[in-house]
């Protein structure tokens, strides 16, 4: 689907907000993603997966961090340029049980999908939640809600977001989590300990995004390989073989 870029601006250090014309052809569940073709020719070859950070009548929003060649090239695109999206893909966050204490826990660029999730929780589910987000430094912060931790202490809680959220978690918590693997892993061990529920969004290198290449698998506790693109990217943390990540 060739769609027009409406906006592509740096909103925090190395973090960009990309807004794309919404063709109004589909709905999106928070946690779902698009496979984005960076150029109109075969370089870089593979599409890049990006979560939906906002989904409004007039635009689809993606927030991305420049980490390699593809995102670098993406950051040079201008409003009016066209970009090719495949999706929405994957299983988003689901099963919001109203009697649970909902916690959103995100780290770095993994916070992007929570912007859309917040919207859905507030407007569709009309449910309350608490949000805890971790960044390395103040200048990487690109959101305007939730409690913030920074590793260098330049803003909010000094330290890791897991340290910040730890005391909030009890066996009635339902956590939605997304961020670096190391953070998710610590959260998972914490959840086992506190016996709570958690849905985690995982990342993995993808070629197809539609379940056919079997390139994006992660190991699950039943000794199986599951595809992040179609069996995830959101998983029940209890299914994941965390020791293999």
């Amino acid at each position: 689907m060739e769609l027009k870029i409406l906006e592509n601006i740096e909103i925090a250090s190395n973090i960009y907000s990309l807004k794309i014309d919404n063709p109004a052809l589909f709905d999106v569940v928070p946690g779902q993603f698009f496979m984005v073709k960076i150029n109109g020719f075969d370089y870089p070859l593979l599409r890049r997966p990006f979560s939906v950070a906002s989904f409004e009548d007039d635009h689809i929003g993606i927030i991305y961090k420049v980490v390699g060649e593809g995102t670098k090239i993406l950051s040079d695109k201008k409003p009016g340029d066209f970009i090719d999206l495949l999706g929405p893909l994957g299983n988003g966050f689901g099963d919001v049980e109203k009697d649970k204490k909902i916690l959103l826990v995100g780290g770095g660029i993994g916070i992007a999908p929570f912007i859309y999730l917040k919207n859905v929780l507030e407007n569709d589910y009309k449910i309350s939640y608490k949000a805890f987000f971790g960044f390395n430094t103040k200048d990487e912060i690109y959101i305007d809600f939730g409690e913030i931790a920074t590793i260098d202490g330049s803003y909010g809680f000094e330290g890791n977001v897991v340290d910040m959220v730890e005391n909030e978690i009890d066996n009635n918590s339902l956590i939605f989590a997304c961020g670096p693997t190391i953070m998710l892993k610590r959260l998972a061990y914490l959840c086992y300990e506190k016996n709570c529920d958690m849905q985690v969004s995982l990342e993995s290198r993808m070629a197809c995004g539609i379940g056919v290449c079997l390139g994006c698998v992660i190991e699950t506790n039943d000794k199986d390989f599951k595809r992040v693109c179609v069996d995830g990217p959101v998983f029940d943390y209890k299914d994941i073989a965390w020791q293999t990540l």
Binding site: R47, S204, R205, V212, L214, V217, E219
Partner: protein, 307 residues
């Protein structure tokens, strides 16, 4: 106008409505693509490689991007022939296109067992024998690098099934036409080439190979000149049809393969980038043929040899 071009090709007793097939391992079991294109428009598609038993495949990471290409080391994760027949085939068997099964075994008897089981399935049009998978420790490309084992294996499989047998060759050899000749003399109905070229990417931060399997198979646009060259070489040595595969990403490259000597072609990695690339390539080929006043695609098979 473009529709007056004759795109059909024959391989053994099968007539394909056009020479475009989707390559094994890049098209799932077919139905995953139903959302993106009408499968009936394809000449056919080749399902993910099947083994006797379900296979888990290699540990991740399994893929990594390279310049105009990618490495994969999936390790033939698949549901096994029985579940394929019982669970997957029913979903696709009524399609008006050819389903080709790609099979893999770690020893001859396994190949034979799968071939015998598939021989009973009317919905399977042909069998493609993968003797060239670089990503599994046993069997795989080891078979495919030795003309004698290819000869023996092909003979065995031919006697286990009445369906046309296509032998898929590895490019990781010195002279691919020797292997093609071995397949031909053993009675293969066709050969397909090339499978992926073995490669490696190193994670310089971690100071180790990026893929858990260390090496992987290089596919994608980067490799097409190698595939075209090999098809050209094999065409001069054998008389059975050649199926060209490797890096095809547009109709121009597809036509290069055909002029090099391929009767049919397979599209692999390009399906990942554009799920409907197969039908775009069919359209592009039709347009080319009609623009050049070529009546039938079979008129240009091997055309690059005539000079």
């Amino acid at each position: 106008m473009a529709n007056s071009v004759n795109m059909s090709v024959k391989l053994s007793n099968i007539i394909f409505k056009n020479p475009i097939l989707a390559a094994s391992g890049t098209f799932g079991y077919g139905f995953e693509y139903q959302k993106y294109l009408d499968l009936n428009m394809l000449g056919g598609f080749i399902v993910k490689g099947l083994s006797v038993k379900e296979k888990k495949g290699n540990k991740p990471p399994r893929i990594v991007e390279t310049p105009c290409g990618m490495l994969n080391a999936i390790g033939l994760q698949n549901v096994g022939v029985d579940r394929f027949v019982n669970e997957k085939l029913p979903e696709i068997k009524d399609l008006n296109t050819h389903i080709i099964a790609n099979i893999y075994g770690s020893k001859e008897a396994e190949f034979v067992e799968i071939a015998e089981k598939l021989d009973l399935e009317k919905a399977v049009s042909a069998i493609e024998v993968n003797v060239s998978c670089p990503n599994v420790s046993k069997g795989g490309a080891l078979f495919g690098k030795n003309p004698d084992s290819v000869f023996n294996l092909t003979k065995l499989i031919k006697s286990s099934t009445k369906k046309p047998v296509i032998v898929k060759l590895t490019p990781n050899v010195e002279d691919i036409s020797l292997i093609a000749e071995a397949a031909e003399s053993a009675g293969a109905d066709a050969v397909s080439l090339i499978n992926t070229i073995t490669g490696m990417v190193i994670d310089i931060k971690a100071k180790k190979p990026f893929l858990a399997n260390k090496t992987g198979g290089l596919s994608g646009p980067a490799i097409y000149p190698v595939g075209v060259r090999m098809v050209y070489e094999v065409y001069e040595k054998i008389n059975i049809p050649i199926i060209g595969v490797g890096g095809i990403y547009n109709s121009d490259v597809a036509i290069q393969y055909i002029m090099a000597g391929a009767s049919l072609i397979e599209i692999g990695t390009a399906n990942f980038i554009n799920p409907d690339i197969t039908v775009k390539i069919i359209k592009g080929m039709r347009e080319f043929l009609s623009r050049e006043n070529i009546q039938s695609v079979s008129d240009i098979v091997g055309a690059a040899h005539s000079m």
